[in-house]
Amino acid sequence: MKSAAAIIVLLLALIPLPWLVRSDFWLNFAVLTLYYGFLGQSWNILGGYGGQYSFGHAAFFGTGAYTSAVLQLQLGFNPWLAVGLASVAGGVVAAIVGGLSFRYGLRGSYFALITLAFAEVLRILADSLGFTGAGVGLQVPLHPAVVNFQFAGKSGFYFTMLVLTALGLAVVWYIEHSRFGARLMAVRDNEDAAQALGVNVYRVKLGAIVVSGILMALGGVFYLQYFLYIDPEIAYGPAVSIAALLAPIVGGLGTMCGPLLGAAALQLLNEVSESAIGAAPGLNLVLYGAVLVLIIAFLPEGIAGVARLRIGLPRGRAA
């Protein structure tokens, strides 16, 4: 209960940000931090709490983005109405990926590879089919209006991301305080022991990947509304899969705030390395990579792990 109160206070404290931060640059920074934190939270549900490391979360992200884009452009749907169907589509793709790999007991690197393969297949499909715009991609025309899920300024997108962040935190809070979550963490730590205690491992993993897929699809929907353009590489390429797993790994796997902390740290690192070595293209990526290696090498439990040591919080999560 204490954690819930802390989270609610944090979210409330974030509401006035657009009035405090007048610069578009920093508001964009905040939007992207919440956005990457949200993608990370989606990955964290399956990877951090369930121990199933996906390398292909783009499959769910891209499905969300494309479903919304196709519904809007080819069928004239209102983007708000498309949100529901897009998240369902993400959940369905997740159920198919999870159903196949968990039914056949694929774990560890096999699971990672099968998710990557699914994302790649979808990328190639999106690249060749007509109704997805093939290689050209799909562009949503700019019509800023709340009813069109488009906002004139950044603050509208900021509040949208804040709502999604609250949703992600609520899901993770539920995981830490429910039977489903207890079983998920048991499966992560030891599948045999979980089975011996009556846990249906297949069903628990399937539940986790579907929830994760739905959230990731919502991330894709947000991307589409924010940038108004997607193509196969953006939607289904490996970049988004990696972004989703980096935030929780850097911030703290299987912790409530890890993905958000990780996303903030990575966004800062990104800005710093870009402005420090902006002139030489590519070098900023080297710095980015080097710091990343250091974080992973010296903070195996992520930033949340360090915070826990410093403040002396108990390690056990759900109480």
Partner: protein, 248 residues
């Protein structure tokens, strides 16, 4: 009958780990399954609990055919095993570990955690309630295995060497716990190398050697059975256990 095995066999490649094993366990019994290392005890437990499917034979639990059912279904029916090498959920606390078992019948998180605390007390882990399970000693891990299994409210528990790796004081401490489990209405089938404990605990002993059941009966009778002494001495693997057996 609580549990019936009917001509059970299991082969791993060239190793016939279990051959033609038939026995029954009655409600309320404490039965010990003993035998030298590699006799097939753990394999038999894995077969009963659904972790392995037998090549031949049938397993009935409370008059229901459970042969080939997956482990979680068998556990839900009330038959739960522990592991010879303890398998804690390492990132979870002791209370959370036990709560996973309690969740089999309790949907509420609060109720399962309260149950976890109660059972931790019962198996002597009360002081460790909120510690991560990976910090437990070997003795602690064995108690955690026991606690988690009990939390599922089983009718029959299979305890695979819950005393291995414990010192004599710890063994003396766990014996009353096992009697208490039986007195609470749970039938117990256990494997054990610690003969002193087997003699004190069990109503009946089954002896397995090279995957075959070679003797069964009251502990004192089995201890003087020439075939049993031969099985232990013949291998030269566990002479102290055999001497203990012979002494009864």
């Amino acid at each position: 009958m609580m549990l019936t095995l009917d001509h059970i066999a299991k082969r791993f490649g060239g190793v016939q780990a279990v051959s033609d094993v038939t026995f029954a366990v009655a409600r309320g019994e404490i039965v010990a399954l003993i035998g030298p290392n590699g006799a097939g005890k753990t394999t038999l437990f894995s077969l009963i609990a659904g972790f392995l499917a037998p090549d031949a034979g049938a397993i009935r639990f409370e008059d229901r055919d459970v042969t080939g059912l997956p482990p979680h279904r068998i556990a839900a029916l009330g038959l739960v095993r522990t592991f010879q090498t303890a398998q804690p959920f390492e990132r979870l606390t002791v209370a959370q570990n036990i709560a996973v078992g309690a969740h089999l019948h309790l949907a509420s998180r609060g109720a399962a955690l309260r149950r976890g605390a109660e059972i931790a007390e019962r198996v002597g882990l009360g002081k460790w309630l909120h510690r991560p399970s990976r910090e437990l000693t070997v003795a602690g891990r064995k108690r955690l295995e026991l606690g988690r299994a009990l939390a599922t409210e089983p009718h029959l528990v299979l305890l695979d060497e819950v005393m291995a790796g414990l010192n004599p004081t710890e063994i003396d401490a766990i014996v009353p716990t096992i009697f208490a489990i039986r007195d609470s209405g749970i039938t117990v089938l256990l494997t054990e190398h610690v003969m002193r404990a087997v003699m004190r605990l069990s109503d009946r002993v089954l002896v397995l050697n090279n995957g075959r059941l070679i003797a069964q009966g009251k502990p004192a009778d089995v201890a003087t059975d020439p075939a049993v002494i031969e099985a232990y001495l013949g291998r030269g693997v566990a002479p102290p256990a055999a001497r203990e057996l012979a002494r009864g």
